[in-house]
């Protein structure tokens, strides 16, 4: 058993998808998350068992709307999508061989079939198609293969592949919610990377996959789709860096106690029996780097927030910076009141804090 398997224990590894891989990049400095993800630990379940359940529910209205929008685009052999892609990518009219790869049942067979079709297309084989619906790609994450399913890959005349991502948030008068666009771009970047690696392994130029992805969203308040090209180069480099970091996870794992495990000791009824204190102690052995942004991105956020109480970083990066980098709340206050003498590297921060404290008490008295 490898170290990572020990950490996970008896549970089956939690499988990744583009969304969870994208989330990896949001707090790249956090070892706790990197280790948990590399080991395939179910963070959501762990968080609930230790009493800090995550809240990432999805409304069924949002899910339905997303499905309806995608189905509408893909109806009649992707008729509506094709029209759009002809506009943004100048896809050749007529040439619309369409492969629905979702119909292949078995995962590996689907991945193989996808690879075969996509590489044939890269060869310039015109029969291979121009639109590939739900191909199955694979990407190595922390030493394990993860299956990924982009909405669609399109092949442009002249041989460039484009990842097409369908999202149901609206673009209104040319503007969309920035956070949602950014999240969609990061997910698409995961597909671009997987597709590039597929081509590279098969001996093709990974540059055949465009760094521009096609984002298809409803326009204004309607169901009418609109396609926009989004450049994901920056996201790609962040992603590659983080994946490389996961590859080096061994260095962190080697430093952990060999008996450390997050096995929940699930009983026959499927209920975790592991004492919470042991898990909390275990998590404490892996460095975390909590920031308020974790709340939107990581299942362990409420646990880590609780643990980070009393740190200035828990109040936001800018708070810590404004306090001259002092990391603990009580220490910042002691420096401000002059109750403790500053260390060598805190002299400047302490002076500023004392002045700030004097100003506040003067103005509020």
């Amino acid at each position: 058993m490898t170290n990572l398997e020990c950490l996970r224990g008896a549970a089956a590894p939690k499988s990744h998808n583009a969304r969870t891989i994208a989330a990896l990049t949001t707090n790249p400095g956090c070892s706790r998350r990197a280790v948990m993800d590399a080991a395939g630990i179910d963070k959501e379940r762990l968080a609930s068992h230790v009493g800090f359940p995550a809240r990432f529910g999805q409304s069924q209205f949002a899910i339905t709307r997303g499905n309806v929008f995608e189905a509408q685009l893909k109806a009649n052999g992707c008729a509506e999508l094709l029209r759009l892609l002809r506009e943004v990518l100048a896809l050749p009219i007529g040439a619309a061989a369409y492969d629905d790869l979702e119909s292949v049942n078995q995962l590996d067979a689907r991945a193989d079939r996808s690879r075969e079709l996509l590489t044939r297309a890269a060869d310039g084989d015109e029969d291979a198609g121009t639109l590939f619906d739900h191909p199955l790609l694979r990407l190595e994450v922390g030493g394990r293969w993860v299956y990924l399913e982009p909405d669609l890959i399109a092949l442009q005349f002249g041989g460039k592949f484009y990842v097409v991502e369908i999202k149901s948030f609206a673009v209104i008068d040319g503007k969309a919610d920035g956070t949602k666009v950014s999240a969609a771009a990061t997910q698409s970047a995961v597909y671009v990377l997987a597709m590039r690696r597929l081509l590279a392994e098969a001996g093709y130029d990974p540059g055949l996959v465009s760094h521009d992805v096609v984002l298809v969203c409803p326009e204004n308040f309607s169901n009418r789709p609109v396609a926009t090209l989004v450049d994901v180069r920056k996201k790609l480099s962040v992603l590659e860096r983080q994946l490389a970091r996961m590859g080096r996870i061994d260095a962190i794992v080697d430093g952990l106690s060999p008996s450390l495990t997050f096995d929940l000791q699930v009983d026959d009824a499927g209920v975790p029996q592991r004492p919470v204190a042991e898990l909390v102690d275990g998590m404490g052995q892996i460095d975390a780097r909590y920031s308020p942004e974790c709340l939107a991105n990581c299942e362990l956020a409420f646990f880590c927030r609780h643990e980070a109480r009393g740190s200035t970083a828990a109040l936001g990066k800018s708070v810590r910076e404004e306090l001259g980098g002092v990391s603990s709340v009580s220490h910042a206050l002691s420096l401000a009141s002059g109750a403790v003498p500053p260390a060598e590297d805190e002299i400047e921060a302490a002076e500023m804090l004392r002045f700030a404290a004097k100003l506040r008490s003067e103005c509020l008295s």
Partner: protein, 483 residues
Amino acid sequence: MSALTALARVSAVSSGVAQPIATVRHVHLSSRPLVFVPLALAGEANAPLAALVGSSPDAPQLLFVPQPRNRDQRFEFAAKLAAILLSYVDSFCGETETVPAGRNTEPRERYVDAPQILVPNGGGVGFVRLFGRSTRFRRTEGEYAVDASVPLLGRWLTFFAERSEYPGSSLLVSMTGALSMHWATGQSAVEDANLAALVGWIDPPSGMSGAEAALEAEDPLTWPPAGPATDPTFDNEVLAPAIEAGSLSMLESALRSQLMPTWELMWRGVSLLRGLPPGARVEQRWTADRDAFTGFASYVAEGGYPQAKRDVAVAAAQRLARLERAQALYDAQRAYDDPLLLAEYRLSGEAFAGTVIASSPDRIDDSGKRRVLRPHVTVRSEDPVLLGPGASVVSPARPSQTGSFVSVSGPDVVLELSGGMGRGLTTPPGSVPEVGERLTYTTLTESYQAPAAFPSREETPWTHGGPPVEYVPDDEDAAEDWS
């Protein structure tokens, strides 16, 4: 985030309750604001689901869309909201005052008061903007006809939303924004966006710390989200079955239960803000709001077109420049009104406070053609003085008087004063600081800055698309899908 606010945040953590970061109120508060708490259907582009609206704490009106995907029902919701909002707006279109002629302006009338809409958070402001966008182009005749009040509602909502981008405007205010301008909590700005948690920190129930109240506020069962997004569990377990069942009474009570806690928080927020004395310059900014309101009301009355979908190049650049100037002025005004905000500038060295130790109020400068009054004062600063000769400063105590640095020796700063002393060669009493007076001087000014010159509409350079055609909404705008 400034160092003083950061310090207030850590103090809040240790004391368990939010700490003040302002000594006066910097937003205008109407005596009868219209509180508006909207909810949107998840997954859709700003499809209205429900709202509580009203200007009296004990009389909220509940509006809701029984089948949120039904287009006609959405327009019925819009018409009902229009009836409430337009009559509220109309109630301010009565008494006017005359604004005397200025150098380049005719005398004009201005309403003595203006409407004020309060929404829970930034998302509420977004809802107002998008709801305005989805209704203002509708036609009231022909194939896609809607109630006459709907496009009018759209224009007004758009006006409120656009005005809210103007620094210091109080026509449309988000409660989380207004509260976090005046209090620092012991949590992060991300968490402050939750109205219940924010109010919990500022005004925890007795026997509870702010931190505990905020933690409790994160449970969507006790404190449903303040919208426009709903709690997904509520959607799946309560809302969907109620819509499915088509039961109006079930829906009504479910939606009311989601909205009422926020409604109460809104009014608690109002009374927390009312507890602060208004800053001296709040009135001046509200006057600018009243001007904007009066102008738009007459534009609407004259049948003006709905606002364009996108600003044309010159208008966009002008708007940006205007917003930047307004922001600088707003920052200065708040610092002048509030010693705690002025203290930020003392911390950064752009201001210093001290006591006058010498004053020569009748000093005459006769080096030029004309003899002029140029008193000198020496201020002993209690703050580190980072400014030097050449700097010019103003004290909020005498905003029309400028002091120029003559010399600095140790903590003592000699300033030469000009302005704010009348036209004669002797100083009116009180116009020059006397020995013993304590003052703050800052480089911050609230003086008017001339707007940057922009080409007129007609002279828009071709690089920016050439002269724009006036935006006239077409049939397509009126018929736009809303699905």
